[in-house]
């Protein structure tokens, strides 16, 4: 639009004006690009390079090709992280997304004076610092003073009172998962709600006239209508799981053993505890590739279903 405005002026003036426009564009985009170039593009390229090096930061870099990747797939901690990320993705989609769908549907379908407040409450845990979320998680699951253990003591249930949720390899993963569900579902709820409110009201009235129950309406109209939103959330879920670090690290530091290690934790440990930059960069590349692959898969799968 600006370019056409410039053209209407005389030829020489127009060209000068166009040059001014280009300069303006450059100057406006420059700060953003500068930031990204230094703190994102350059490190991305470096990640690929370092991932092929044997280096600890202090020692000289030695080129080892794909050796770091080969070592990773024999590394117990990394493999545990990979496995947990996959089950984390699966269970968050199955449990968190469906739970969020039902809560969002309940709040939208039966919207009344409470709905706004309830929505605000469900999203509340989402904005909490993860250091605090993890602390609250510990207060729920800790032995001795944790609330579940205390409930067990009060009710005289020895099995509950003596359970060490965070110290038991089998339970630790699920304890962290419960807290994550508590903390992260809020986003899916508000997102689904916003989408559901965009469904034309006539559809619902028509369904009601036909005698459709709330569940029937949810299944036949709302769910198909939200397929795109659900796909977006599935992608967010997946990418979030690949990046997962704060909550398991703060609640269990990945333990006991490797029971709650994630890719993020194994990257942190390799890179910033053991100072093995090469391996850590290789994990970074794995996280990147996986998030790319998952995103593409989920969108192509979703598209096929649509048509």
């Amino acid at each position: 639009m600006v370019v056409t405005a410039g053209r209407s002026a005389s030829q020489g003036k127009g060209r000068k004006r166009e040059r001014g426009t280009t300069l303006f564009i450059f100057l406006c985009v420059l700060p953003a690009l500068l930031f990204l170039a230094i703190f994102l593009y350059y490190p991305i390229v470096e990640t690929f390079r370092i991932s092929q090096m044997k280096t600890s930061g202090l020692s000289e870099e030695v080129f080892v090709g794909l050796d770091n990747y080969r070592k990773l797939f024999a590394d117990e901690e990394f493999l545990a992280g990979l496995k947990h990320v996959f089950s984390w993705v699966f269970w968050s989609i199955v449990i968190q997304l469906s739970l969020s769908f039902f809560i969002a549907f309940g709040l939208t379908y039966y919207s009344n004076r409470m709905s706004g407040t309830l929505r605000a409450i469900f999203y509340l845990a989402n904005i909490l610092p993860s250091a605090i979320t993890a602390m609250l998680g510990k207060m729920v699951f800790a032995p001795n003073y944790g609330i579940l253990v205390t409930i067990g003591k009060v009710l005289g249930w020895k099995w509950l009172a003596s359970t060490d949720f965070l110290g038991n390899p089998k339970l630790a993963f699920w304890s962290v998962f419960v807290i994550a569900t508590w903390a992260y579902s809020g986003f899916y709820i508000i997102y689904f709600m916003a989408r559901m409110e965009q469904i034309p009201r006539d559809l619902r009235e028509a369904a009601e006239l036909d005698g459709a129950s709330a569940l029937r309406y949810a299944w036949s109209i709302v769910l198909p209508d939200l397929s795109y939103a659900i796909r977006i959330c599935a992608v967010l879920c997946t990418v979030g799981s690949l990046k997962l670090f704060d909550l398991p690290y703060l609640m269990t530091t990945g333990g006991p053993g490797y029971a709650t290690v994630t890719l993020g934790i194994s990257l942190y440990r390799h890179g910033f505890v053991n100072w093995n930059y090469g391996k850590a960069a290789a994990i970074g590349v794995v996280i990147f590739v996986l998030s790319l692959v998952f995103t593409i898969i989920q969108f192509t799968l979703g598209k096929k279903k649509d048509t």
């Binding site: 600006v2 370019v3 001014g20 303006f24 564009i25 700060p31 953003a32 690009l33 930031f35 990204l36 230094i38 994102l40 490190p43 470096e46 930061g57 809560i103 939208t108 039966y110 919207s111 009344n112 409470m114 706004g116 309830l118 605000a120 999203y123 509340l124 845990a125 904005i127 909490l128 610092p129 250091a131 605090i132 993890a134 602390m135 609250l136 207060m139 729920v140 001795n144 003073y145 609330i147 205390t150 508590w182 508000i190 709600m193 916003a194 409110e197 009201r201 009235e205 709330a214 977006i232 990418v239 690949l242 670090f245 990257l267 942190y268 930059y277 850590a280 970074g284 996280i287 990147f288």
Partner: protein
């Protein structure tokens, strides 16, 4: 995406659109009650730190879940000294302000150009920035740290908020882009006919109109920076530079549950700003969060 202002994301307003007066049906009451109980579960954990922080250490050791006998304000004072909360608050505040100042202006400028000057050049720039939106931060941690050491800006607060801003710029560029797109063109055209150049159209007309987006950006960037843990953990090593979140986390590692009441008190102080912001502006925060995802 551009509908920052529409009622679509606001449940309170869409309710009466149909103009039908509904009676409260039993199903509605049951569902609302069930959801309210769920909401109680969500809120309940927030009460725990207050319960703990009010007690003496001895009281906590024997009756962690009993109602506190008296309110121990001393825990807050001790926590303030032990964790050096004053220092932590100042550091975190600096990071937040730095992050806001470095994220929003570049994002607003770039977003404006992408919305209003569309040609092949801006398209290329746009995709360059869009790439950044899809890069997981974890991927670049190692080179980022190496680079900061080489530049001697690791373990400084600006070494923390500069990359933080870089990671936030792509998202906010997208938000500003869709916001500027949703604004009517007439005002800018009128200003241009009056002889205003690119810069004065931008600064006198468009940026003031973008105020709602800017308020949201300030709010959400602040919360994001306040809550950060991973980046601070990697980039800060000197205790003096520790942000609130790092102080809270390291306090727990150092003392475990031996100092729980004090720890709980520190946690309350560190979570308070985001919580207060949320209670005041939850409508805005939710709307802003959704604006990023809604019409893509």
């Amino acid at each position: 995406m551009g509908d920052l202002n529409t009622a679509a994301v606001n449940p309170g307003k869409t309710r009466r659109r149909g103009g039908i007066k509904r009676r409260h049906r039993p199903a509605e009451i049951i569902v609302t009650v069930v959801l309210s109980i769920l909401a109680l579960f969500v809120i309940f954990p927030f009460v725990i730190p207050f319960l703990f922080a009010a007690k003496t250490q001895l009281e906590f050791a024997y009756h962690p879940w009993a109602w506190p006998k008296s309110f121990q304000i001393k825990n807050f004072i001790d926590a303030w000294k032990a964790v050096r909360i004053d220092r932590g608050l100042i550091n975190t505040l600096m990071v937040c302000i730095g992050s806001i100042v470095c994220t929003i202006p570049p994002a607003a400028l770039a977003g404006y150009v992408f919305a209003r000057y569309r040609n092949r050049l801006t398209e290329i720039f746009f995709y360059l920035i869009l790439i950044g939106y899809f890069i997981p931060v974890q991927m670049v941690l190692v080179p980022l740290y190496k680079m900061e050491v080489a530049m001697k800006i690791n373990d400084t607060l600006y070494g923390l908020f500069l990359p933080m801003a870089a990671f936030g710029i792509p998202f906010w560029t997208l938000i500003y882009r869709s916001f500027f797109r949703s604004l009517p063109n007439e005002l800018a055209e009128a200003a241009r006919i009056d002889g205003a150049g690119h810069w004065s159209v931008l600064f006198r007309v468009m940026l003031p109109l973008a105020q709602p987006a800017t308020v949201l950006a300030i709010l959400l960037v602040f919360i994001g920076a306040w809550n950060d843990y991973l980046l601070s953990l990697i980039l800060l090593t000197n205790q003096d530079n520790f942000t609130m979140q790092l102080r809270i986390a390291s306090f727990l590692n150092a003392y475990g549950t031996d100092r729980m009441p004090r720890y709980a008190a520190a946690a309350i102080i560190s979570a308070a700003p985001t919580l207060i912001l949320y209670i005041i502006g939850h409508r805005w925060i939710i709307r802003g969060t959704l604006a990023g995802a809604i019409k893509e």
